[in-house]
Symmetry: C2
Subunit: 148 residues, 2 copies
DNA sequence: ACCCATCATTGGTGTCAGCCTACAATGGGC
DNA sequence: GCCCATTGTAGGCTGACACCAATGATGGGT
């Protein structure tokens, strides 16, 4: 079966959307096996890369609604991946920090993500993957921050 | 603000997912202005590329649930983009065909899609876009058909 | 001391995509 | 003629996602 209509396959954005969705879907499937969603991984990554943060700053950085961030942090805290502590200087703020367990969890998740990546990018050799990554990075950096 | 955590930006699949979502979102926004969704465009493209089809074959080709296909065709028919006709040989089947109006509509939509593409791929020159497209095409073709 | 802004939190809304069941009409094997 | 498979159709359910309003605690300016 010819599968995809050539009119669509000719659009780079279509391929981008389709392959991106495939990648996201696969990773999400793996994560849901552990009771996690993609936002959980994003939060863990942000904490690992940028250190402990006020909840609000985390939400702003990841461009997620603060009220949704609460739930994500709730679940991460329930899994001992994250610790909440009132900021002693400004007691309105809650400082969120990665626990050792959280760091391990993140390592395991990135390993899974790389496995998914190997699967999705199977037809490309190392050089191809590098150029693809570089191109996408340029596109991504030029994208406006928000979802729109 | 540093925006994206490096741990995530290092994953090609993350960039793929993010840029793909951006592209899809922008095009969807344009389409919704005309009361259409992405599936409508996909169906129009499939009809233009492969000719009139039984509804079931269309659904199988695009990997969409037949019951959802009904609604998409309903809306396309209401907009005079598509014609339904019972197959005279097998009266269970419905042959769906593109109308001239539908063909025009598709041309307008692909023009919009290319405009969105120009916007998203702004940081890349023509050569970069060509290599990106070629790489994505290889990845896409290697992807299994279904969503999983 | 007072007023307003900020922060985390709760809870609710709307949308959308994907999926699954039931059903009526039709076709085709036997 | 009978039984089962196929096709289009209708309807509803679910999970994810984004967004928004209200509230209680706190901070800080004046």
């Amino acid at each position: 079966m010819t599968g995809t209509p050539p009119t669509l396959a000719a659009l780079t954005t279509y391929l981008l959307s389709k392959t991106g969705k495939a990648a996201r879907g696969r990773l999400a499937a793996h994560l849901s096996g552990e009771g996690l969603r993609l936002w959980h991984m994003a939060v863990l990554a942000a904490l690992a890369d940028f250190g402990p943060q006020a909840q609000r700053d985390l939400a702003a950085r990841l461009v997620i609604d603060p009220s949704d961030m609460v739930k994500v942090i709730d679940e991460l805290a329930a899994a001992d991946c994250v610790e909440r502590a009132r900021d002693t200087a400004d007691r309105r703020r809650v400082r969120v920090a990665l626990t050792p367990a959280g760091r391990d969890r993140l390592a395991a998740l990135t390993a899974r993500a790389e496995a998914v990546q190997d699967e999705v990018l199977a037809p490309l050799d190392a050089a191809d993957r590098a150029t693809l990554h570089a191109l996408l990075l340029r596109v991504h950096e030029a994208l406006p921050a928000g979802p729109e």
